[in-house]
Structure formats: C-alpha cells, structure tokens
C-alpha cells in the first residue's frame, strides 16, 4: 500500500512537470503565431496608413475588400523566390544573421503579459530580460552588414549598431521611474499595480512619468529603426542598409522581425505605462487581452503616423537627440519621480 502511494506521488509529480512543459510549449507556439500575425496585419496596415496619409488608396485588389489578402499573396511570392548568396559573402554569418535577429525578437515575447496568466514565462526579471534579449538584434545587424561584404551593408550596420546601442540607454532609463513605484521587474506585477482606471496608469501617476513615457516612445521609434530614425536603411543613401544583399525568405525574416519588434515595443509601453490589460474605466466589460491588444495597436498606429509624417534626421542630429536631450531628461525623470514619491509618500 505504501509502495502504491509512493508510486502515485511520483506519477503526480511527473505529470505536473509534463503539464508545465506542455502549457509552456503551447504558449511558445502562440507567441510564434502572434509574431507571424503581426507581420501579416501590420504590413497591410502600414500600406493602408501610408496611403491614407498621402491621399492614395494603397493595396485594393487582392482579397476583394481593400486588399486584405495582400500580405498572404506577398508571403506566397517570397517563398518562391531564389535565395541568392553573393560570392564575396561570408556564408556562415550571412545565413545566420536573419535567424539571430528573428530569435531575438521572438525570445522577448516570452515575458509580455497579454492577459492575467497569459504569459509564456512569468520571469521575476521580466523587464530587464526583455531589454537584454531584444539587444540581440544589434548582433544580428552587425553580422548581416559584415557578412554581406558590401559597402552599403557595412555602413548601414555601423549606423544601425551605433543608433540602437545609443537609444537603448534612454529606453532603459525611462522605465526606471515605473520600477520605483512597483519595486518589481516582473511584468505581471507592473501591470497589476495599475489596477483601476486611467488615473492609476503609470502614465498619469506623476508628471515625471508622463515625460518618461514620451522619452520611451521616441526612443522606441529609434530602437526599431523606423522613420524619422531610419538611418540604417536610408534608401536614398545606402540602398537598403544592412539587408541590401538579402533576397527571398532571408530578407523576409528581417521584415518580419521589424514588425514584430514594432509590436513588441508597443506592448512594453502598454504594459509599463498604459495599464496593460486593465480597461480605461474600471468595470467595463471588456476582455483583458482585447484591452491590451487595442492599446498596443493604437501605439503601432502612432508609430506609423510619425513615420509617414516627419522627415528623416541626419546622423549627427540623431546622436545629438540621444546623448544631449534624451539621456539628461531620462535621468531627471528618475530623480524627479523619486522626490515625488518621497513627498507624496505613496508606494504600492
């Protein structure tokens, strides 16, 4: 009898472990699907937004209604393209670079809380983990630029790396004031601390947090290399920057990662500043995941609006903005929020 109970206990322990593995695997697959969906939805959305801002129609034919099936058609086309590796290229690095960028952007999704309990990995170091993993993209860009053995690629990669590492500093610093309030880097804890309507979102908790959000938003545009900060891929100077030599599916991985990263930085902003899955007014009968996704997509729309409205910056203006404007402001926000917390004496 004792033996039987022992055995039963072991089976139970084993099965709970298996349940953990199975549920994590399902979450990982969902994250991969979310990423693929982002590329499909946002390429169409970007074309439509760009067209709308420039008084054009954009894609109209594929899929009958406003070209909704255009991304699917594009993907089928890309799959059938020839994969060209230049004779001069470093083959190993050239083939690995898109995969490194793709893995970096998918890994960061593991710590994004879409809804209560709907998170692939409830990491205690969530926020730090996301920043650490998403900087894998810098390595991927440098690999792509170096391996292509092309002047445009190399210049694009050097610019891209300089820009991304520079803007990573104000990006990380602008989330520090929020952590002052939560005293936790766990993404779930950060969202839970914003329960109860717009007034409790970190965006409106104190004026320094509002400024920190603006700093975060501007730096996130630079971090995903989009206009007006698209120096690494300026088509009028560098052809296409670090992915000049890429074709077919490998090029598509760069594209996929760009849109996935765009949604990622918007999701981080939603979770950290905009109340995550909480509805704007407490008690609104909206699904938590819906709240989260609507807020993130609105931020993505803002990114697109900025991209198609503002002209591109020069490299020196880019560096000026980062080191002489964004970093000092972010540092002031950290100290300012600390003083505000001390004077008002509220901590959650």
């Amino acid at each position: 009898m004792e033996l039987f109970a022992n055995l039963l206990g072991k089976i139970e322990a084993l099965s709970s472990q298996n349940v953990l593995i199975l549920s994590s695997l399902i979450m990982a697959l969902i994250m991969a699907l979310v990423m693929a969906a982002c590329a499909i939805v946002f390429t169409w959305m970007e074309r439509k937004v760009a067209a709308f801002l420039q008084s054009r129609y954009g894609p109209m034919r594929v899929g009958h209604w406003h070209g909704v099936a255009q991304p699917v058609a594009d993907m089928l086309k890309i799959l059938q393209k020839e994969d060209i590796i230049p004779a001069e290229a470093d083959r190993t690095l050239f083939t690995l670079a898109p995969v490194v960028i793709f893995i970096g952007s998918l890994l960061a999704w593991a710590a994004i809380p879409f809804a209560p309990g709907f998170i692939a990995s409830d990491l205690d170091l969530g926020l730090l983990y996301i920043f650490a993993v998403s900087s894998l993209a810098v390595i991927g860009i440098l690999m792509a630029g170096w391996a292509s053995n092309n002047k445009w690629s190399l210049y694009g990669a050097a610019r891209g790396a300089a820009q991304m590492v520079s803007y990573e500093i104000p990006l990380a610093l602008s989330t520090v004031p929020v952590v002052l309030y939560t005293a936790s880097l766990n993404m779930n804890d950060i969202v839970i601390a914003q329960q109860g309507g717009v007034a409790n979102w970190f965006l409106f908790r104190d004026p320094f947090l509002f400024v920190a959000f603006v700093v975060y938003f501007i730096c996130s545009i630079a971090e995903v290399n989009r206009g007006p900060f698209d120096m690494p891929e300026t088509e009028s100077e560098l052809v296409a920057g670090y992915h000049t030599e890429y074709t077919g599916m490998r090029w598509a991985f760069f594209f996929l990662s760009e849109y996935a990263n765009l949604f990622l930085v918007s999701c981080i902003a939603t979770a950290v500043f905009l109340g995550g899955w909480w509805a704007p007014i407490p008690g609104l009968p909206l699904a938590p995941a819906l709240n989260f996704i609507v807020k993130s997509v609105l931020l993505v729309f803002l990114h697109m609006w900025v991209r198609w409205t503002l002209p591109r910056l020069r490299v020196d203006q880019l560096m000026y903005l980062c080191w002489k404007v964004m970093i000092p402001i972010a540092l002031i926000c950290v100290i300012g929020s600390g003083i505000w917390l001390m004077v008002s004496g509220q901590a959650s």
Binding site: L25, Q80, A110, S166, P328, L331
Partner: protein, 123 residues
C-alpha cells in the same frame, strides 16, 4: 527558477524550428539558377570598386565606449530602484535619494566632460 526559465528555452526552440521550417520551405520551393553576374556584390550596377575594408569613422568606437559605461550605469540603477520602496516605508527615502544622487552626479560629470570635450559632436 526552473519553472521560469523552462518556457524561455521552449520559446527559443520554437523560434529555431520556425526559422528552419520557413528557410527549408523557401529552399524547397524557390528556383536555383546560379549565375556569376547574379552573385556579384551589388554596387548600384557598376562593377564593385575597391575593398570593403574601409576605414571607419572613429566616432563609432566612441559611441561603443560610451554605451558600455552608460548602459552599465543604467543596470546599476535597478538594484537601487528595487530597494527604494523599502527605504520609503522605513522613512529613509531622503537618505536613499541622496545616495543615488551621488552616484548619478559622478555619471553626469562624466557626461558633461564628454560633452565639453566634443565627444558628442558628429563632425
């Protein structure tokens, strides 16, 4: 720890499998018609001139150096930030703020030095 890091490992493996499947699919579906002209380095249509071993603008190295220092500074802020709540509830917030102000002052002096020396100019 184990339950937190296992999902990360699974996401990593899903990413690798996803990438492998799509690259394999394009390898299977795409044509392969190699051509020496097609495989030359793209330089706007003209034959490539010179080498790619170009000289880099020295500013890029400076940016890399400054990134190392300032990113380390940002990471060093996190432990203080996580403990600030404890200081606040113990009524020692002014002390904690003073401490971090000293740390930030050192960093800001560094930033001002680089600024005055012209290390942030891109000309």
């Amino acid at each position: 720890m184990y339950t937190q890091l296992l999902p990360v490992l699974l996401v990593l493996s899903v990413a690798v499998v996803f990438a492998a499947v799509f690259l394999g699919l394009s390898y299977w579906l795409g044509p392969r018609r190699p051509d020496p002209l097609k495989e030359t380095t793209y330089e706007c249509g003209i034959p490539p001139r010179g080498t790619v071993q170009i000289r880099f603008f020295v500013r890029f190295f400076l940016v890399a150096l400054m990134f190392l220092l300032f990113d380390l500074e940002a990471v060093l802020l996190y432990p203080w930030v996580l403990l600030y709540g404890d200081f606040l509830s113990a009524g020692q917030a002014a002390f904690a703020l003073g401490e971090i102000s000293v740390f930030l002052a050192v960093v800001v002096v560094g930033l001002v030095y680089v600024w005055k020396k012209g290390g942030l100019e891109w000309q």
